[in-house]
């Protein structure tokens, strides 16, 4: 069974803290993604990685950075958490192939207080 695992289901952090969200996939996928899900806004792409140490900004990268040191692991970093980063964060991975499918983790609900 394909699996994308996010390290935490729920996180509560304080404003100004550095926050790490971890994602691991066991499918040897080249592509990995971080999305943010907010009501009425859908899934917005934060960052995309197509290979180890390679990354591209998505639509809303401000306030975030990413790290991909190994193929199976993709980390999202909030350098200095702010209350407007309170959201559901979803990690996904996919193969580079025709009719590819993005497989999602269950999400991390982050609350910044």
């Amino acid at each position: 069974d394909v699996k994308v695992t996010q390290s935490s289901r729920y996180l509560v952090k304080r404003t100004g803290e550095k926050v790490f969200l971890e994602c691991v996939q066991d499918m040897d996928h080249e592509n990995m993604f971080w999305y943010r899900q907010d009501p009425g806004l859908g899934l917005r792409l934060i960052y995309f990685s197509y290979d180890v140490k390679m990354k591209e900004k998505g639509d809303i990268p401000e306030g975030y950075s990413v790290s991909r040191e190994k193929k199976e692991r993709f980390s999202l970093i909030l350098e200095s958490a702010s209350t407007n980063q309170t959201s559901m964060y979803l990690c996904a991975s996919s193969l580079v192939q025709v009719n590819t499918e993005a497989f999602f983790g269950q999400g991390t609900r982050l609350t910044v207080v």
Binding site: V4, N31, F33, Y35, G40, L41, G42, L43, R44, L45, F48, Y50, E56, G58, D59, L90, A92, S94, L95, V96, Q97, V98, N99, T100, E101, A102, F104, G105, Q106, G107
Partner: protein, 111 residues
């Protein structure tokens, strides 16, 4: 600016009815259009997908209609069931890489 625009935001349908969700895009480089279904507490999962070289794809009760010239595509759920109640996202991708998602439609099928 959202790359894929989705409507309606919410939809209530009686059991047995047809649910229709619409999406539009601007970037003609998109070459893959999947629909995802999300149940509460879960990540989205692929439901059905279409390439722009076909105008319609059907899988069971789910059909995608695609209009390349209008840059629009839609999801039809025939004989909607209470178990179909979920949030649906349309998406678009190019080079089989980045996926851009719509804003989502929360479907409620009433028994």
């Amino acid at each position: 600016q959202q790359q894929v625009k989705q409507s309606p935001q919410s939809l209530i349908v009686q059991k047995g009815g047809i649910s229709i969700i619409n999406c539009a895009y601007e970037n003609t480089a998109f070459d893959y259009f999947p629909w995802y279904q999300q149940f509460p507490g879960k990540g989205p999962a692929l439901l059905i997908a279409i390439r722009p070289d076909v105008s319609e794809k059907k899988e069971g009760r789910f059909t995608i209609s695609f209009n390349k010239s209008a840059k629009q595509f839609s999801l039809h759920i025939m004989d909607s069931q209470p178990g179909d109640s979920a949030t649906y996202f349309c998406a678009a991708a190019y080079n089989f890489n980045k996926f851009y998602f719509g804003s989502g439609t929360k479907l409620n099928v009433k028994p």
